[in-house]
Symmetry: C2
């Protein structure tokens, strides 16, 4: 792959990860809107339910009081984990994107009110971390204390606020903190890395927003310093802390899944901004290794509860899947940066796969309950021995509440993932009813997308404004979409279909993606699901949940025939409207039953009960 | 089942768990000797290597210095976990049994020297726990601090010392501590239970040794008080701490495996001594549930690293098996108490199964390296991210060093598990070259057992002394031993074969146990090993280890035919002398290879490399 080092065009003002140096450039959420359909419904829930409820939860859990205490406006005891501030920053980021998507003065006022709390808590030298400030042990244990981690989320929130609301109050806090970090850390200064990456992405985005190259330099330092046992001086476990191997030497991902993918995403930012092709190749290799041997069929990442870790290659137990919602989100961020850098459609495939099957299972259809851990199998009689266990059901919030605001910010910025531009034209990366404008050299290229995707495979793209001269409209054909057509012509799965011509307003391009249900089997080394199949249709992985089956069916005792007919039926009445799949199975005494599968993301919305993604065939 | 409430005969002076009220009575290690063969070799290693090395490790890790510091003879910082004292007590117990097995004045002197350290550390009111004494937070958090746990191990060690050496110095310490516990805890006094059971077994054994009924009463209190959320007041997790359900109401085992089986063993002691048949029935039901749905084919217990827990029914991943060595030992203790109480041979079957396949894998053939966790599958390229990981190889010692001295005390007392007596005669429970004397009403019944078991199935029992009149010689026929014969007559597997007659010195009884290799499949709900088989022969479960296979064979890519010939060959040169099994397999490209399996207990004695117990067939 080649990093295209073009002249830097103006960053799209409200883009997600606004790199201008990759093969593709992102579009801001001001020019890429989801206008309807399934994703619009999910975004509406985030706006109407999740964000307001999140604010309440942050008040109840003490995260906001921590800022008041650190800022001197409240007396009291600090509450929550050492990374409590990061939940506030992710909420602020979600609110900023949501304001950018659809302005609302109440939502802005809330952001500015909380921003003022953050500013009041900031120390004179720029440092802010309320738990540490009150404990009084700044930088005592970087492997443990998440001080850079919180800074990284602050930076991301500040950039989003600046881009989406025009307000720079949080950006000013961020710059003061970043300047403090630049003065304090790096080669020849204090040589430390945080136990939990994310500051790398935050610093690079702050660099993109401000143009201050010292932030990029510090991000690069934090990436390069890993793998040299800086964290183990504090008693940390190097594998867990993404510190066992230098990033550019690693062959795969390992250790704590969220840390690993956040680090990789930040390293991708650094690679693109510094033109470091070796580093980008290493990340490409690691991504491929991850998807080959350390990713669930749902896209979920992290096979171990112990250490929230990836685990060994092909160690992918369905029942004990960790598959943290945040790991899915971090992988979306990593894939997005790799897509921009390389223009490889497999990264856009992964974004789609992760969003539907690894991120969205993490939030209830109602928008106010979450899964932290996303199991692929809940047995009958499973113990609810942990608030994160599936057997405990979805939860309003968690003691470690990283996932809920992470879902919010991801859904609020979703428009930014729809499409990209390059010098030749516009690339449609994700399919949803939407309106997208790409600014090309010869003028704006605006398209309206109409579709019932992911339930139906027809996607109709209508040109509303066309640039002068020939332009390229590229349509991602997912790797599963064998038999897809564009305007009736067969196109290749796992590639972009290019329509290159002079476009005029009113022109229509018709994409047809075949959405047949099919069964998939795992790599033969995945012992945990040997002799089993999973069922998918288009981008969606399916699950059988107890609630949909005939009375008396015990999910743990069924066998299915992989060659059976898996019949799709759209059910507008069910779970907000889903397409189900119906197929025969055999019970332990040979009795035949007809099973109904639902999209995996929709499970556990009718109470909690047995569920499985992988179904035995033998 | 019925608890036989006979008149209490004198407890066998050096017995393991010397209940006199069950259906069977135990024999002391003074009258039940292993005289040769495989187990004698293992016991020799414990004596010559493990116990001396354990003493060194306890010095190096600070456990003994903790006693010196608490006793005032040394200044320094406390080291090790809060339960550090228990490792010393288990070592003392091992040394006591070992002295009883074969007296040695040096070994006695060491015990008395360490006993003096313990006595010197004991406070005036009887309390002793060096870590807590130095920290100064006695009984601050019973759910966490293991104070009763350490007491329980002290009591077990003290009883062993008294029974096996005749010295009561440690017993006096134990009585002072037990009296303190009686004054402090119980209904109407301080109502608390320890987060880690074992004090129940310790108190009952101390009652058996001293006749002081208040110890039994307190043990009963500790058993009955569980399941009433006493530990959760301290922030503990009730499931983890065996405190979610009252023992007599529990349907299965759950939570931390070692805690669960220790509690069950202590509850069995209480049930027998108090004639509590309801409680015994509950324990019988729990044991059956455990073996049905929560036990590995190796006997290993505990499917989760997270919380060292049993996990859900049929959740038994081979690769992430926890199967802590201590859990296997605790289950032996539980099974032994159930065997004495009920005379059901399935409990003796379990003891054999656990000892060979769940306990002995935990110690190297050399006797100086241990596994804490006993995986059933080590992949090629597995991460060694934890000192307990199989990928880290066997270890000299652990930060949490519960397992090594637990193995030592179990091996040193092994003679005590060989046989039992009842009013009618002598029951041979385990087969090894041995000499056993049971004191019956009509005189002593002494037999010498000759066998090459577990490699060969012939067991020759020669009567050396016979009681007057008719006596019953019962031979356990393991449940796997279809086709067994006694003196040429077919006998039923899974039962006792009774030879009832007037015996005379020189009489010989010949037992023949068929040791064919066979494959076993798991319950179909055990998803983790679907489409796979394990190989066993007689009491031994086998494993394929990289070291025995032809060059280039990748264990993770093989398939075997369950109907193939699994050919046994005794290899005196290999791993101290083992019978191997040879059978064909097919690689991913269809190439045929001949695999060699070794007994699972013998793996990881030639460095660390890939291994699997379950082998795919599909």
């Amino acid at each position: 792959m080649t990093i295209v080092s073009s002249v830097r065009p103006p960053a799209s003002p409200t883009g997600v990860s606004t790199s201008a140096l990759g093969a593709l450039q992102p579009l801001g959420i001001d020019v890429a809107h989801i206008t309807g359909g399934w994703w619009a419904g999910r975004q509406r829930r985030i706006r109407e339910v999740s964000i307001p409820d999140g604010r309440r939860q942050l008040e109840e859990a003490g995260n906001l009081d921590n800022f008041r205490i650190a800022g001197g406006s409240l007396e009291g005891e600090i509450r929550g984990p050492v990374f409590a501030d990061s939940d506030v920053y992710k909420w602020l980021e979600a609110a900023a994107w949501e304001y950018g998507r659809q302005p609302d003065e109440g939502l802005l006022a809330e952001q500015l009110e909380i921003t003022a709390l953050v500013a009041a808590a900031q120390e004179d030298d720029g440092y802010v971390n309320t738990v540490i400030q009150i404990r009084g042990d700044r930088y005592r244990n970087p492997a443990r204390d998440h001080e850079h981690y919180c800074a990284g989320h602050l930076f991301q929130a500040a950039v989003a606020q600046s881009r989406c609301t025009g307000h720079d109050e949080l950006l000013e806090v961020a710059i003061r903190f970043a300047d403090h970090l630049v003065r304090t850390f790096g080669a020849g200064r204090r040589e430390d890395v945080d136990g939990h990456p994310v500051v790398e992405m935050g610093l690079v985005e702050l660099y993109r927003q401000t143009g201050r190259v010292e932030y990029l330099d510090l991000a690069r330092y934090f990436v390069e310093a890993r793998g040299h046992a800086l964290t183990t001086r504090y008693g940390g476990n190097a594998t867990y802390l993404s510190d066992r191997v230098p990033v550019r030497e690693a062959a795969t991902v390992e250790g704590h899944a969220v840390r690993a993918v956040y680090l990789a995403a930040g390293a991708a930012d650094v690679a693109v901004e510094t033109g470091d092709e070796e580093l980008l190749r290493a990340l490409d290799r690691q991504f491929a290794s991850m998807t080959e041997a350390k990713q669930y069929v749902t896209g979920g990442l992290g096979a171990r509860w112990e250490g929230e870790a990836f685990g060994d290659p092909y160690e992918l137990p369905a029942d004990r899947a960790y598959a943290e919602t945040c790991a899915g989100i971090g992988a979306v961020q990593w894939a997005w940066r790799m897509l921009l850098a390389t223009a490889e459609p497999r990264y856009a495939d992964q974004i789609e796969h992760l969003l539907y099957n690894a991120v969205m299972p993490g939030v209830s259809l109602g928008g106010d309950e979450y899964f932290y851990v996303n199991t692929l199998h809940l047995r009958d009689g499973a113990e609810a021995d942990n608030e994160r266990s599936a057997a405990s059901g979805r939860r309003r919030w968690f003691d470690c509440a990283c996932c809920p605001p992470n879902v919010m910010r991801t859904l609020a910025q979703l428009g930014g993932y729809l499409a990209t531009v390059d010098e030749r034209g516009l690339q449609l990366q994700q399919y949803a009813p939407s309106r997208i404008t790409g600014a090309l050299a010869d003028g704006e290229f605006t398209v309206a997308v109409q579709t019932d995707y992911p339930w139906k495979g027809a996607v109709r793209v209508t040109v509303e404004a066309a640039p002068g001269g020939e332009a390229d409209l590229a349509l991602r054909i997912p790797a599963w979409a064998e038999g897809a057509t564009v305007d009736g012509q067969a196109v290749e799965a796992g590639s972009y279909a290019h329509v290159r011509r002079v476009f005029n307003p009113g022109d229509v391009v018709e994409l047809e993606l075949p959405l047949q249900a099919s069964v998939v089997t795992a790599h033969p080394r995945v012992d945990a699901v040997r002799g089993s199949v999973a069922v998918r249709r288009g981008p969606l992985v399916y699950a059988i949940e107890q609630a949909d089956q005939p009375d008396g069916v015990v999910l743990d005792d069924l066998r299915v025939d992989p060659d059976a007919n898996y019949a799709a039926q759209h059910r507008p009445d069910l779970l907000g409207g889903v397409t189900t799949l119906s197929f025969p199975a055999v019970g332990p005494d040979g009795q035949r039953v007809q099973l109904t599968a639902i999209p995996y993301f929709a499970w556990a919305n009718r109470g909690i009960g047995p569920m499985r993604v992988w179904i035995p065939t033998v």
